[in-house]
Amino acid sequence: MIAAIEPTWYLTLAALLFSIGAFGLLVRRNPLVMFMCIELMLNAANLTFVALATQLGDINGQTAVFFVLVVAAAEVVVGLGIIVSILRRRPGATADDLVELKG
């Protein structure tokens, strides 16, 4: 046993972090802050992966976190590209202004 802290504590913390991220995603209107909330949720999933990988003695969980990191990086790049091209046309746009999805 590596971590003497019980894994359920880590899982609870991850659940709390995920809930905060989901709440922020629903509440905030700024697309950049919404993206940060998605990062919070991804980190909650990573924390769960690592906690269970440690508990079960399985390195595959940590490999999954590695891939999540890569995909998160790619996702942030594409998402920020979309946000840049939207906000360049309509400065100060919020998520509500994008309902019609026209440029």
Partner: protein, 214 residues
């Protein structure tokens, strides 16, 4: 299993305060720059948790990639677009949205917590040293504290990544290339008249870009 030392509890709670405080900061700060700094705090707290569970490589990558690259990218975009102004969070176009989101978040946390509590004993009772079905040798996480090898985490992670998941690992390079190319195409300002003599693809991109413009 519950023989956590005092210092481990201190580390756990300090890092948890970092994580949750940063997360609340992300959604509560009015200024997007402050939200990004709250995100940095959260990511560092998660990295501390990774170190506490001896996932040393992931902790380093978490700091370098997340807190380094991704947050800097966020800050770049915030500064570049000039949206680093405080926003009035009291304006709420849909009045019922916040209570509903709160109910959703609390309900989600409650459901996940119920699942954790229900499965808590099962998680704890799973054999901590799984046996390899072929070689009958105990497999598991090689950690620095168990083996004395300080590179044990990186070695086992690399062995797993480059043997079992090598195909997925190669595919991530394709993903990154596609993401970079797509972003360049997405954010490039196409001047009028440029690219029409460069072949079909460039002119198609130009026309679709200018066609979709207002």
């Amino acid at each position: 299993m519950s023989d956590a030392t005092f210092i481990e509890y201190v580390v756990f709670f300090a890092a948890s305060v970092m994580v949750l405080g940063g997360a609340i900061g992300v959604i509560a700060f009015r200024n997007p720059v402050h939200s990004a700094l709250g995100l940095v705090l959260t990511l560092f707290g998660v990295a501390v948790h990774f170190v506490a569970q001896e996932a040393h490589f992931l902790a380093a990558v978490q700091v370098i990639v997340y807190a380094g690259a991704i947050v800097v990218l966020f800050l770049f975009v915030i500064m570049l677009l000039g949206v680093d102004k405080a926003q009035d969070l009291s304006i709420e176009p849909i009045p019922i949205q916040r209570p509903l989101a709160g109910v959703m978040a609390v309900g989600l946390f409650g459901l996940v917590l119920a699942a954790i509590v229900r499965s808590g004993d099962a998680i704890g009772s799973i054999a901590l040293q799984p046996i390899d079905p072929v070689t009958r040798e105990p497999i598991g996480l090689e950690t620095a504290s168990q083996t004395g090898n300080h590179d044990a985490n990186i070695e086992s992670l690399a062995r797993n990544l480059y043997t079992d998941h090598v195909f997925a690992f190669e595919l991530t390079s394709v993903l990154l290339i596609v993401a970079v190319a797509g972003t360049v195409l997405l954010t490039r300002r196409w001047p009028k008249g440029v690219g029409e003599d460069l072949g079909d693809e460039a002119s198609t991109a130009t026309s679709s870009r200018s066609g979709s413009g207002s």
